[in-house]
Symmetry: C2
Subunit: 179 residues, 2 copies
Amino acid sequence: MSDPQIPASFSLGVPPGEDRERRICDQCGFIDYANPRIVTGVVAHAGGRILLCRRAIEPRKGFWTLPAGFLELGESIEEGARREAMEEARAELVIETLLGLYSIPLIGQVQIFFRARIVNDPSPGPESLEVALFGWDEVPWSELAFPSVRWALDHYRETQGQTGFTPFGNPPGTDQLKR
Amino acid sequence: MSDPQIPASFSLGVPPGEDRERRICDQCGFIDYANPRIVTGVVAHAGGRILLCRRAIEPRKGFWTLPAGFLELGESIEEGARREAMEEARAELVIETLLGLYSIPLIGQVQIFFRARIVNDPSPGPESLEVALFGWDEVPWSELAFPSVRWALDHYRETQGQTGFTPFGNPPGTDQLKR
């Protein structure tokens, strides 16, 4: 079965001195050390309401999400979260506390969410159809883009106004979803 | 200036629809999405003493470190921490709490440390010359392998016996070390 994500020139093999299969380029010997990637994001609030973005891109185009995205080389996790909030919602943030740390082995991700305060007026960036601030009872629960959006919102609600708590991990059972 | 880590067939370029340079293979078009990698590790204790491993491999061969290593695809961060402790010190652990979350942009890493209790008798794995349990005053401070080993040990000491605290981030200033 061929995976369209894997160029034809890659084969699986165990590099010398290692104990694990990696993708190795048949032409130049390049070893593709694929590791889980970090998604960094925020539950950002202003006036007691929470910032959500309606996605302009796949996956889950048209659904609502929290500002979040892949951490890039050269930035801290807090810097990455602030960059994503700026890119997706033109939101300037003051980060308040670490909220959650979720492992999603099924898709090779670790997601890290902060709680943050918004200090300007958000507006949609190119990856968002619209952005809006929602009171808890106004959140479009049936139109959320990803399960972890719900997890982070629930953990925000549970600790609203608090500091000095241990960040949440996965809800029970959800760290066992394997490829 | 050529980087021996980069095979000759890679060039830097901005993929269509993106805003950031990536390494692209000249021969097959493979895009190498390099993102920060996750190191997962533990400050593991038994009888009030802390487990350290003397490294049998470079970098920092011969120096003392905490059990830690790269998170692999298909595992949660807690599973990765337990695997590393087993590989490096044959240590079986019960993870107690999240201790620290450090960004090290200079080397493209996010390091996540847990506090854990050891439930067997550790012994050296193939990557360790020796393993030992140290009281706080016995720790070989001048022979620690990496700065983050010191950070995690200090944060362990500061919260010994506590739960329900917010994990530590970087010590002041250390998240600004850029490539």
